[in-house]
Symmetry: C3
Subunit: 139 residues, 3 copies
């Protein structure tokens, strides 16, 4: 089994910016030449997530609204006091949705449904330079 290591870097806008990285991940798989195997997608940091969804603007707004109600931005999170910061909500959302995603590879393609995209979710309140680590394992 052989490992091919990649980095996807994205400038995010902060505030629940949802960025479709499926084509970036697909490029990694192509370049590795892996016919069969699996990929690990991992975002470094504790205020962003990797998630899957049908990437279309209506659903993206639904996701933002859902998270905005579930974990509101403007509560007095204790984390904010720790650092005199105001991104406690970002941390909670990132913990809920996770930073790691594993997908199978077959026929030199990620096995994904047509409406199933891999998305980098920025939960921090400010723009960030995000690093997404992609490991492609080729059988």
């Amino acid at each position: 089994m052989k490992l091919f290591k990649y980095r996807i870097t994205k400038k995010t806008k902060g505030e629940d910016d949802l960025i479709d990285i499926t084509s970036d991940v697909r490029c990694c798989v192509k370049e590795s030449g892996a016919e069969d195997g699996f990929g690990v997608v991992f975002v470094v940091g504790s205020t962003a997530s990797i998630l899957t969804m049908e990437y279309e603007s209506g659903l993206a707004k639904d996701v933002r609204e859902f998270l905005g109600e579930l974990i509101p931005k403007d509560r007095d999170y204790l984390h904010n006091a720790t650092w005199d910061d105001d991104n406690g909500y970002s941390h909670l959302r990132a913990t809920l949705l996770g930073q790691s995603f594993v997908f199978p590879i077959e026929n030199n393609e990620p096995v994904l449904g047509r409406w199933q995209q891999i998305v980098l979710a920025e939960f921090d309140h400010r723009p960030r330079d995000r690093v997404v680590v992609v490991h492609i394992y080729k059988v």
Copy 2:
């Protein structure tokens, strides 16, 4: 390391149908002959999830009730307008719970607790033919 590829196909009933696929996954592990290694369980599509739970009818109802309150079926999700469809809630639930599950294998068995089952969750409003991709990696 060697890869064994499987497909589990299930006819679901829609509406939060929770299907225990632990024995199907265990069969894949057995058939692969993997003493040690790991498995990737992945459901194709953006309105279903792979989750783990103690599979018993009381808890299954608790899971359904929890999700029904957290992400109600009958809200005006913007996704519904995009496709003139009504499964926005299905997408949100699937994004929240994820489509991918990785487990360790030891002694030719998935390492699972006695009350820890692998479950295919159908969040779409209608019955679906679901394809679950199982990759078994044998050391």
Copy 3:
């Protein structure tokens, strides 16, 4: 590819005990000698989770408060009737947050942000002896 198998065992206090296991996992990676590869962290049982967060006491309290509101301890979960037990809420929280975490390894280190820790979350109401399975795969 070579597999190194480890067990991390922890006595938890119950009641949303959050235990930072990053240094334990880092030790496994070191001992394996894996320069590149990946790790699987898996907690056995259906009332605990593996999650990632910035491990500091303020955020730990935020996580507990968030879960306490989202999935309150004192509701009449049907699971409680099944076993004449009272940990239905523990199961729901564990299903929501998951039992499995996969991370990339580079330079004989888990690839993690400075504020991104791997945490064992005990959701059961009573102290437990938890077993965390760690598989390190070395390329």
